[in-house]
Structure formats: structure tokens, C-alpha cells
Chain length 226, copies 4
């Protein structure tokens, strides 16, 4: 992502945004392997332009992820402002995150982007903002006694990563319906007074940060993506 194009010429900035929008659409539709050309075409620019703005596929993914995080954080802040308590905000925030298109995007983006989330650039900033917000909500909800306390913010983050996953091959309607339904089941599981308290160590924000920090390059871990 780098620079996020602070001082781009008007036309360049316009193109940059069109590219991000197009990429978001194409990636959500066709998955992470969508050809760059298709994205370019959809944005109404040549491949060259796309590559000038985003030197490689990863840079593009980072750009899209950045824009997504910014949007999500804004959404969350609004929820926080408008809901009476932390749990309410968390619920609403998670529901918004679980919207189909967002979920698809996260699914596609995450694998290619994890290693950059920690870095210093704007992406890191956006990521920490989002993470901080989530942390506030989780801790708040736990303090209110609304949420079980054997889970850390890291747990919730990972659950989101897992939950927003779009089940492949499922048509839009079913996908949407199940996403909503399962989120509710999960929310129920998150409530205080679990039947069986977890004995393993909660995954806290810090641990996840540390982990991301450590990730090396050239690491083709199983991604489930391909």
C-alpha cells in the first residue's frame, strides 16, 4: 500500500480508487487468483496503470485491505457511539462485519496480507486502529459481565477470521442466511456463564500481534486459499 497516494494528481487518485473498488468486486467474486487484467478491465484502466499504482499483486491486496479496515473501523466507532453498552456495540459490529461481501473479501485478502499487517505503513496503522477498537469492545463487554472471560481479543479476532469465511459453492442466499445464523450461535457461545470453561490460555491481542510480527517471508503456509 505504502503512501496511500497522499499527493497524487487528481486523475491518478481517481484511478487508484476505481482500481481498489474494482479489485474488491472482482476478488470477492472470483477469488484470490483473479487475473490482474480482469481487475484492470473492470476499473477501466490498462494493466500498466494498475501496476504503476500497485507494483505487484500483494500491494494491490494491501490497498484493498486497507480500505476495508478503514471502513470497518468507522462502522465500529459508530456502533460504539450509538449503542448503550459495549456488548451491544460488539454484537452490532460483528453483524456488520459478517455481511456477505465483507466476509468474502476478508477471506480472500487475509492470507496474502497477514505478513504486512504488522508493518509500519498505513496498513499497520489501520490495522491497529481496528484492533484497538475491537479490544475496547471485548474488554468492555467482559467488564459489563455480558461476555465470558475465558476469551481474549485475539480469540475473537480469529473467530472473525474464521467466521467471515464464505462457504465455497454456496449460492448467495444460502450463504447469507447461514452467515447470519451462525453468527448468532457464536454470539450465544460468547455470552457469560459458559457451560464448560476453557482451560487453555486465552489468546490475547498481544499474542496475536507478537505472532504476526514473527511471520517470515517466503512462507507458504497452508492457506486454505491456494
Amino acid at each position: 500500500m505504502t503512501e496511500e497516494g497522499a499527493e497524487l494528481r487528481a486523475d491518478a487518485r481517481r484511478n487508484r480508487e476505481r482500481i481498489i473498488a474494482a479489485a474488491a468486486a472482482v476478488l470477492a467474486e472470483r477469488g484470490a487468483d483473479a487475473p490482474m487484467e480482469e481487475i484492470a478491465r473492470r476499473a477501466g484502466v490498462g494493466v500498466g496503470t494498475l501496476y504503476r499504482r500497485f507494483p505487484d499483486r500483494d500491494a494491490l491486496f494491501r490497498g484493498v485491505m486497507h480500505s476495508l479496515l478503514v471502513r470497518l473501523t468507522a462502522t465500529g466507532r459508530r456502533a460504539q457511539a450509538e449503542e448503550p453498552d459495549a456488548w451491544g456495540a460488539l454484537e452490532r459490529f460483528l453483524r456488520e462485519t459478517a455481511k456477505l461481501r465483507t466476509a468474502s473479501l476478508i477471506t480472500v485478502l487475509r492470507p496474502r496480507v497477514v505478513r504486512s499487517l504488522q508493518a509500519d505503513g498505513e496498513l499497520g496503522v489501520a490495522r491497529r486502529a481496528w484492533f484497538g477498537l475491537l479490544d475496547e469492545m471485548v474488554l468492555g463487554a467482559q467488564r459489563e459481565g455480558a461476555m465470558r472471560t475465558d476469551l481474549g481479543t485475539g480469540d475473537v479476532t480469529l473467530m472473525i477470521a474464521v467466521f467471515t469465511r464464505r462457504v465455497p459453492g454456496l449460492p448467495e442466499d444460502l450463504a447469507g442466511r447461514s452467515l447470519e445464523r451462525h453468527l448468532e450461535v457464536l454470539l450465544d457461545g460468547l455470552r457469560a456463564t459458559p457451560r464448560r470453561v476453557l482451560t487453555s490460555e486465552p489468546i490475547h491481542a498481544a499474542e496475536l500481534e507478537a505472532e504476526a510480527m514473527r511471520s517470515h517471508h517466503g512462507d507458504h503456509q497452508v492457506t486454505g486459499s491456494s
Copy 2:
């Protein structure tokens, strides 16, 4: 998969099995795009042999999925036999399914295989056996009053599909730990007396079957994969 595997010469059958094992390993490790050559190498055969046994990539995937389903079903039957009630069996079954390697495999295979699950071949049979087992457990647990009744077997299937998903970029240990933890949260959410009863229509086995039936080919649906 197709009818294969019935009357093969001993060595051919041995090859077939080595290929499936190798594919399972490679796919779990390197994701859905692992080169066929790598799989062949790992199985200790030439690509040619691989292709003689599995005419194309999808056939191979189906073969691996078949073997996985068979194993899972056996596991489930055992749980059913050994646990005192249906809920106990379901819990145990889900925990076994959530083992890391299995989860990775499902993540990788599912997208490429959904469209064939319904077909008539051995894969369909294996799939229906697995599905029937799950259905017994779910209905049983609900009848026992241990599980909430606003969920259908289809819901649970999809939850499995989602939950077994491996979070990309996460190291083995964290991945394993979170998988276990989140499963427990989910199980808690599955218990009777939900805080908020779901109002949308449960997803029943039948609906999912019907859906799969309908899926068309050439359809590059969002896969979240690739």
C-alpha cells in the same frame, strides 16, 4: 473418484492409495494449487501414473475427499457406539473432525468438490453415509433436549465447513489451540436454551442436498479458495 478402485491389480491399487495419501499431505501443506508433479513425486510415482489413476485434478480431489469422508464416518460410528448419548457422540465427532490436518484438508478440498458430492459415484455414497450419520446425531441430541432446536443438520454441516477452516498464516500451535477453543465456544452456542432464538428457517439436510443438486458446472463461484 468415479467407480475406480474395485478391480485393480494389486500394484495399481497400492499406487492409488499412495497417491491419495501423498495428495492429502501435499494439499494440506501447500494448498489447493500444489503442482501435480509434487504430489506424484511424493507418492513415488510419475505424473503419468497419477493421471492414469485420476484423469484430472478434480478426480484426484474427489478421491481424497472420498477417503476422508469414509474415515470420518467410521470415526463417528465409533463415537456413537461408545458414547452414552447422542450429544456426547456429536461433541466427540465434531472434536475429531476439528483436528488440524482434517480441517486443512476440508478447507482445501471442499471448494473443488462440492459440485460432485451429489453425483452418484462412490463419492456420493460416502457423502450420504456421512451426512446420514450427522443427521442421526443432531436429531438425537435435539430429542434429548441437549441441543437447541432452531438449527438443522444443514446448519451444522455448514458450521463444520466454516469452522474447520484453517486460518491462513497462523503457525501450527496457535492454529490448533484456536481450533479447539472456538469449537468449544460453538458447542456452547449449540446447547439448548439459546438466549435469542433464531427466526430464520433452519437449514435442513434436504435443503442442502437440493442445493448441491442444482449447482452448475463452469461456475466459478466465490470460493474463498484460490
Copy 3:
């Protein structure tokens, strides 16, 4: 190069010179394939400006070559004025030409420029001036009895073309050292009383001129370059 450079606005002329200087540096460092953008950047101008001044890559190369020839000729004239005899001037002239940076530049430029050397523009003029100077020196040295007479000026020109060649992959120091050393060996070979008189026809200035004249365009002769 073409007629350029006569009546330009002061700033335009300044730009032109900065571009030539930058190109000389970049080409000597990164070879003939250096991106135009890099050259522009180094000159502190936009690509657009570069292209306004030099319509295409060849034009730029011609410009750089022109400036090089002019400098070399001036150097040679000075040697002629200051050395007592023609051989002395020739030696000094060749040694100056063999300076590392000059050598690298010639290596890079020559292939792309040969076909234009004869043309009428300023480049041709500069080239003929340089060539005339060399001719004077060679003939003078032979008349003095200091140099073998079975070589023509064309031979010497080609030797320069070959000798100034930078050996790829060699670090600066070794490159410089060998350049100097080999020039001395060559000079020794140029001296009168060769052990074995050459029997083939000397290559005279005229023959080389004629040849250059004849070169066609679109001719991707072996360049050894690229």
C-alpha cells in the same frame, strides 16, 4: 542527436545537458537497458521532458555519443599540441580514451549508434572530426617510423572499439588495472618492426566509412550488446 541544441531557451538547454550527463552516468553504470525513467529521475526531470528533448532512445544515445566524441577530440587536440611527436600524441590519446568510464560508455553506446555515425547531423560532424584527428596521428606516427605500417586508421579505430570494452563482472579496480595493462601490450604490438607482418589488406579509414555508409536499418546485427 539531430540538429538539436542550437537555439533553445536557457532552461531547456540546461535540461538537455543534465539529461546527457545523467544518461552517461546511468548507461555506464547499468548498461544499455537502463530504463528511461531512471535516466530522467537522475537528471531531475520528468520522462516527458526527456522525450521532448530526445524523441526516442536512439536519439538520446546519439546525444550522449556526440558529447563524448567532442570531448575526446578536444583531448586529442591537446595531446597533439603538447606532445613532441605523433606517436607520443597517439599513445596519450589512446590512454585517455581507455579511461574506465569512457570505455564503459563506448561499449554501451557504440552498438546503438553505429548506423547513425555517418549521417549528416552533428553527430556525423563530430565523428568525422574525431576520425580525422586519429588519422593524422596514425599517419604521422607511421611517417615517423614509430608505428608499424601494415595497419590502417580503420584498424586502430576497431581496436579501440574492442579494447575499450569493459569486461563484464569485473570489479572496478581489476577492470581499471587490466585496461591499462592491456593497452600497453597493444601499444607494444603497434610499434614498428612487427615480428610477423600482416598480409591481409590494412583497414583504412575510407573502408570503414564506406562500410558504415552501407549499414541498413532494422538490422539487428550481432551486437554482443544487449
Copy 4:
């Protein structure tokens, strides 16, 4: 180069040779940037085949260089066997090396290959054989009193690298003629009793070896090539 294909299937080996021959021809004609496709076409195979045999451009270059070195060494050994003294063998060896096609090839190959010459594979072996031969000849000639002693084998190697260079844009006949002529001048310069003894340190075989050893990757030195 690696393996040089010891145990390749008959057809594969045949193709490998055709590819090397085609590459030698194309590279000599069109320079180092010749498209891989052209080489493949000329060899009568698909690009894929070319890439299976030589994983990348450099591997191909190494293969061609290897075959060239082997041929040159054989030639030199023959000269050594048939000529009465070391100087005679050296002369003949250099003359054969300076044959036009060989010279063009060396020009093109060398830059892309220097860094691998030292490595252990077959290329290194071939290189050391060639180098050892040259060393014998040079030392022998110096011992005989036929060659000046202020030059090391490394000097001669570098002279070859420079001298075999094809002057770009020159038609075959002129190129050939000047190559022969200049070699004679150089040989004359190599003879004993130089007019001016070189004062800088001779470049010995060892020094050149050491240097090559040291070369790092990713080093885009001025190559004069491309």
C-alpha cells in the same frame, strides 16, 4: 547447467543438444536478449521443453558456455600435442578461439555466466580444465623465453575476453578480418622483450579465480552487455 543430463532418456538428450545448438546460433546472431521462444522455435521444441531442460535463462547460458568450453579445451589439447613448443600451441589456441562464431558467443555468454564459472557443477569443472590448459601454455611459453614475463595467465584470460569481442554493427567479413589482424598485433605485443615493461602487478590465474569466487549475486555490474 547442472547435471549435464547424464541419464536422460534418448529423446530428451537429443532435444537438449538441439536446444544448446539453437541457443548458440541465436545468441550469436541476435545477442543476449534473444527471446526464449525464438530459441525454442529454432530448436524445434516448445518453450516448455526449453524450460524443463534449463529452468531459466542463466541455466541455458551456462549450458551453452559449458559446451563451448569443452570444445575449446579439446582444441587446445590438440594444439599442445601437435605443436613443437608452448608458444606455438598458445598462438594456435588463441587463433582458434578468435574464430568469429566462438568470439561472438563468448561475448554474449560471458556476462551472464561469470558468476557461475567458479561454482562446483560441471561448468566449474570445464572452466578449470580450460583455465589449467591456458596456464600450462602461458607458463611454458614464458619458460621458453618466447613470451614476456610481466603478464600472468589472468592477463591473458582477460585479453581473450576483450579481444574475442565482436564489434557490433560490423559485417561478417570485416569482423573476421579485423579479428585476425588484431590478434596478430596482440601476439606481437605478447612476445618477449617488451619496449616498456609493465610495472603494475601481473594478473595471475589465482587472482582471477579469487575474484570470481567473491562475486555476489544480484550484482548488476556494468556489463556492456544489454
